[in-house]
Subunit: 289 residues, 4 copies
């Protein structure tokens, strides 16, 4: 019978591969009263490679004993030189969504969130335009209009930082927010800013990827969700997908069909990020599904 | 540095779910000198559900110490009521392929085997026709012609059993072998006979599925690889896939396009079976990829 | 240069195949001042088969001269025994959407309609529950609550018919409306009622298809959009699609993933129907894309 | 009833779009005793765009009257400034396949050809290695070994040209032939050389695309079949497809999974080319399916 106050946690581990890791970790969890619900692991190479692990576990008093558990696990982690984190499932991360004038990605995220498919609180929507004020506020989410021009960019960044801090935002989603993100923000939100690019990267980096795709005459178009780093469209890829096109599609058709890919790819990436399924290693991601 | 004589094994476990399984198993492996290379697990429900696990591990002297290891593991397994097996990777199972007059599935399996993508020895091809004699023997594989008529069916089964026994065959692949398999064979090769059915089961059970699909006007056709049990086309499904069709396709077109799905679906199912990735539970399969 | 008052029409033809059809039709259009923008055709068999054609054309005064054009085309059509229709693009058909308590299909249709991707006016949403009143009215669409119980079914049908007539509704979309449609309505809206069934028909006809899919252990789940006729789930199929699942999905997961297929499959079928891309022939459809 | 000596032809047309093309062409065919079996058309823009058409037609004496028909059609074609061709279906084009050391694309083409799925005679296989001599000759096809080194390149090209001419080769397939094609050959076989590149172009142009894909951490890998022109990997794309990969795949896995995409993409492109379904326009293709 299910214990009533059973609480769930997620343990993420990244360390050099070595014999005995799984035994040590699972023994630790068992001896501390946790039950492994699901476990995934990956090694780039069992010999001298790098090891990654994601464990969903339940524990009767996880919230209360989290600090104790963490301190205890540190002893297990040290000899293996683990980087690790334990996240309590009951605590939802706070999201900010940045948008501009294309609504499909924002709509998808709001809708999924309303359905309970995103493990997050949406703290706010920030936009350099007013178009989505009503849509956002109808969903019961604060909307902030922060105009961005070439001249006002520094002030806009200051305002962004102020809002993000005030709302204790952990993760930023760029839902077709067509502005370059300043380095200060990228640095502060390391591997916590997710962008959707409207091509199957690395093809068609930069502006107007659908026009580029049309000009090249490709037979597939795609979208790529990735973490934002200092290099435009070159951050670690979380998810990609494509759809088939034909010679009958003009650029407007490509944009219309592309939207359906963009919104689903971004949704998946955000969902997986929030469920702690994504580990960044170098410029690549491990995605435990 | 890679130890020279490192040998690989696969441990499969199926038991009622309970706290401590992973810890017990991983501790056993570690303390017996094994290193976990890859591990997958699944629970139908952490509370009172059923637990499944597949572990790829390496051990410096697996072949020599297999009997010892098995005896020792029995102690770990008993309290959890585990059904389990340990397979040594260096030992290849022996396959028999049954075929009739459609060559695409047979061709695909022979070709994948020649490429080293199937972890098996192909012991023989058995057919009720002579069409594939040359194809089979060119690949260096014995070919046996066992005609099957309504009257000769019992003799054919006797001959099949004799050949399978003589060649120590562990697994039978029905590569579009259009004959009902007798119960005696099904019983002897429990969950070791894989069939490819040319529809996305449970749609279009029985004969002429492409004609049935054409008559119904479906927009997708598919194929299903499944273990053979006593009920026609109702055994546990291992893999399925589909392809899109249009109103322009007649039944001949469906058959032609269907072949491309059949051969890839059968190949995947056979490959996963041979790599011990498939666990049958009730009438369903767990497939660890 | 584009003529300013150029109007678009769609000509649909269905007749026994015979030499000279394309020549006769294209000559008619050309000699009447029309320009063929796009043309699709299909023959089940050039000899004694059935011929289908869809032509998008432009005409400088189509709205004004429609009656004249139709009368003239009748002369061309007769010798070939054509069933045919000419639709003026500027006139949008009026839709009614029936829904119950699952919002994903309704949401998708409203959203696509707001984006201008559905060539229709949505006349109303009818539901046997009140859940979607606000959603519908926020989109500026009338909402009618018509409760349906075993006893009130006849009254409900009367009310449905009254509403459909009052709003001059041409096409009905069942957006996961979980009620049997009475024959009177099916008869009145022959090939004008589109339903979404949550399985890849003909697999899993009837209730709880996701539970059925779970029990059978399939590796793909699907959805089917079809015209409604007197036989439950057996009407002409317009579109189907599938998504891959694994042993890790329980019935709730299947439902969640299935929604994404249902909404896109229904959207496509409705879009194609409204763009006059679908011709029903017997129990099958020709879909010109 | 089917006339016994009915012969099939394919008419391809490319010209500036203008009213009356379809009427003129279909009237010509009808009045010359041809019956349209299938017709496809495309216009980049009905106003000042470019128009493309592919018509499959039958004619009772096509082989005998081809010259007469062509001369007559010239009168219809001239006022529209058509580029056009009529191909008789009974005449198969002659193919040369170039290969090196990877067999999957060659195998697929030979197998499809044996199944009757490629409308061509394979005149020969040319390779710079001896590996496929037996495979080719077993299929009853002449094999020519033409070694290519930096120094011998000019002699190799001369030998290639001699063989191609001697065997009256119309189309060249590069089945993973890892050599740069000299301009002389490209010029001579304008839009008649098809290459398979092992990435979803324009991503990963040049050498080692799977290593490039691995390094970038993409979640999809692909293949591209294209006509060869003077710019490496930049010719008109005929077909592309992709397959999903995960973080678990190393470069060897990518190569193995990529092969399955390469062979099917090349097969489709070759099939469509041989069935006269592909029209090159600028650096893009129209593919009528």
């Amino acid at each position: 019978m299910m214990k009533e106050n059973l609480e769930k946690g997620i343990l993420l581990i990244s360390c050099p591969d070595k014999e005995g890791i799984v035994a040590a970790v699972s023994t630790f969890l068992f001896s501390n009263g946790s039950n492994i619900i699901h476990s995934d692991q990956h090694s780039t190479d069992p010999v001298q490679g790098h090891f990654f692990m994601r464990i969903e576990f339940s524990h009767p008093h996880l919230n209360d004993q989290l600090a104790v558990l963490k301190e205890a696990f540190d002893e297990t982690a040290k000899p293996f030189k683990m980087e690790w984190s334990i996240t309590v499932s009951s605590k939802k991360p706070r999201l900010a969504i940045f948008a501009t004038k294309e609504d499909h990605c924002l709509q998808e995220l709001l809708w999924r969130w309303q359905l309970g498919e995103l493990h997050a609180d949406i703290a706010m929507v920030i936009s350099n335009h007013l178009d989505f004020k009503e849509l956002t506020e109808n969903a019961g989410i604060p909307f902030y209009h922060v105009p961005v021009t070439k001249e006002s960019k520094p002030e806009a960044t200051t305002e962004h930082l102020r809002l993000l801090k005030a709302h204790r935002v952990a993760t930023i989603i760029l839902a077709r927010y067509m502005q370059i993100i300043p380095e200060e923000l990228i640095h502060l939100y390391h591997n916590e800013i997710i962008n959707i690019h409207h091509s199957f990267l690395p093809a068609f980096i930069g502006g107007n990827p659908y026009q580029q795709a049309f000009d090249r005459g490709v037979k597939l178009i795609g979208a790529t969700a990735h973490y934002v780093n200092a290099k435009l469209d070159e951050g670690p890829i979380i998810e990609q997908d494509i759809t088939r096109i034909t010679h009958r599609y003009n650029v407007t058709d490509l944009k219309r069909h592309g939207k359906d890919i963009e919104r689903i790819v971004l949704y998946r990436a955000v969902k997986w990020h929030l469920e702690k399924r994504v580990i960044v290693h170098g410029n690549k991601t491990i995605v435990f599904q």
